[in-house]
């Protein structure tokens, strides 16, 4: 079956919304249904827990491949903000800290930053392109997007060289552009399963550099955080990143693992290249048609100016085109994946 045909929503819509939530492959829905049905029919006993651990490790391995990380450095979380929250809350942050971030971050990072500020840290927000330049001798941490959710710009490559730990919000990175946590030089990379990886809401990943990880306390532990759950108050948390694993529903993990399988069967590198090429075409044609396209990089987001973006977004949906508006900006944002093709672009241009 052609890749595109594996995503039922594409029969119905020019679906350009993976930056919020990706299209779900039919096979992943079917996998999740089977896992649901099994829980109803067989109950949830020891085999159920074994299956949950198996699926979590399968997903962990896939996310690790995606980020060029070792599986033991990857936690299975409920999403980008959960990973960012676990790291920022687990650090010994206080009045001595200055965190450099950008002035265009997503609430998923803003939340943990507000919490850090409440503990006394200074949060210095600068333009996205200035992130690396803004690091001074007072800076103790950088926390910012890998790919801007507003414009599709990439964080400055110079961030890999700054002399302080860098925590990246990879919500628009993982599954959208190549991610190599070593090359990015980050100590933590948090991302989502439901966006560019077409998985379930409430799934995600956290890469944590093992050396830096020693500084991150497990302040929000769950059953899955323990080395051995039988030791009571003598218990200890795992040393690996999986101490930050969250207790996700079996069917959600299965859905995300199933979706990743569909993407990997097509070839992740191939997908990323096709999506980036197609997004470049989208951006060029929108500019050609007279739209002002936001400054962007070779990513899978194209934001362009329209009058009254919210009303326009609703109109477009009525015409079978799914994009999003970005409140507080003049932009509509189209999210382009390898599941899209030029017909979706034609629909968008026509509907505009």
């Amino acid at each position: 079956m052609a890749f595109r045909d594996q995503f039922p929503v594409l029969d119905r819509l020019a679906y350009l919304n993976a930056g919020t939530d990706g299209p779900i492959p039919r096979a992943a829905i079917e996998t999740a249904r089977a896992e649901l049905d099994a829980q109803g029919a067989e109950g949830r006993l020891y085999a159920h827990f074994a299956r949950r651990f198996e699926l979590a490790d399968q997903l962990r391995a896939g996310y690790a491949r995606l980020m060029n990380a070792a599986p033991e450095d990857v936690a299975i979380t409920s999403g980008t903000s959960a990973g960012l929250g676990a790291v920022l809350a687990g650090l010994d942050i206080g009045p001595g800290d200055e965190i450099v971030t950008s002035d265009a971050e997503h609430p998923g990072l803003i939340g943990p930053l507000l919490a850090a500020r409440e503990r006394g840290a200074t949060v210095k927000a600068v333009p996205f392109a200035e992130l690396a330049n803004a690091v001074t001798a007072s800076t103790t941490l950088v926390a910012a997007s890998h790919v801007s959710w507003i414009t599709g710009e990439l964080a400055p490559a110079e961030l890999a060289e700054v002399p302080v730990p860098v925590i990246l919000d990879g919500a628009q990175g993982a599954g959208a552009v190549p991610v190599d946590v070593k090359a990015l030089g980050c100590v933590a990379y948090a991302a989502a399963g439901q966006k560019w990886l077409c998985g379930a809401d409430g799934t995600g990943m956290l890469y944590l550099d093992p050396e830096f990880g020693e500084r991150v306390k497990t302040i929000f532990p769950t059953y899955f955080s323990f080395e051995d759950t039988g030791l009571g108050l003598e218990g200890r948390f795992k040393a690996s990143a999986s101490r930050f694993d969250l207790p996700l529903p079996r069917e959600a993990v299965a859905l995300s693992a199933g979706a990743l399988e569909v993407l990997e069967a097509e070839g992740l590198d191939a997908i990323l290249t096709r999506a980036a090429d197609l997004t470049d075409v989208f951006a060029a044609k929108l500019a050609e048609a007279g739209y002002t396209v936001a400054p962007r990089a070779r990513t899978t987001l194209v934001s362009f100016e329209v009058e009254d973006p919210e009303a326009k977004r609703e109109q477009l949906l009525e015409r079978g085109v799914a994009v999003r508006n970005l409140p507080g900006t003049p932009y509509l944002r189209a999210s382009v994946g390898a599941w899209n093709d030029e017909s979706d672009l034609d629909c968008l241009l026509e509907a505009l």
Copy 2:
């Protein structure tokens, strides 16, 4: 349809394991499947988010009824430990604190207690029955089970009168015994959706007393924590307990809401009474058959001594009876719900 017949697993097993994970009603599985299918076919756009909020508020209202709390004092979480973790991590806890707990707590509470101890607090573990007596002038907090997961005992009623805040782990309480957060005198009550309420893994509830809640910082915020997500670093978290809402998958919330509907259609009070009566019969018959039953109260758990509980548990499952063993104790634990009847007890006694 008879109540029991709504739970497919009961056709196959004497299912006595709701203390871990409840049996799931057929209708709840079907609801979850429909929500999954809709996400695949329709994509996940604004209507999807509206549906998620609607389902979360439906579940919140149900959990609020169950705990005799106002919906604005209830957060929708991923389970008991998430709620306990949010409260304990959000409190300004340090070397001046003494937390009284019992020596028989579940990892879901042990985890947050270990994290509190790492921040300098003293954790004083006493026998479960001594919880109220152990509170002294040095005590700043009590954190313990409402119903013991080991024995089925109830926390001392005197806890309602102690002069320090009481945080209850309601994993074996909510849906098993009557829960009235006002009468319990607790400032926080955290419980699970997947156990006695027959819902999805990864769902749960947190009641937070609004006055006490002012002391609990939002250190692990998500998109759903914000009053208004459009304000960037000027943003603020909600004042209501829903600032602790976690971003759960739509199908999981639908499953838990659907399961609660099935229970409420039967009548929650009636269910609790029937389950308690039936558990009393279980306990009496086990004692009559010569088994040593752990000290218990009028709850839905019966723990009884066997030789090699783990091997016995496996044998029982081969004979169609699902119970659990409790590592580090001599017990097998039977969890009895209103979906069970005396035939399940007969199966258990026969299989033993």
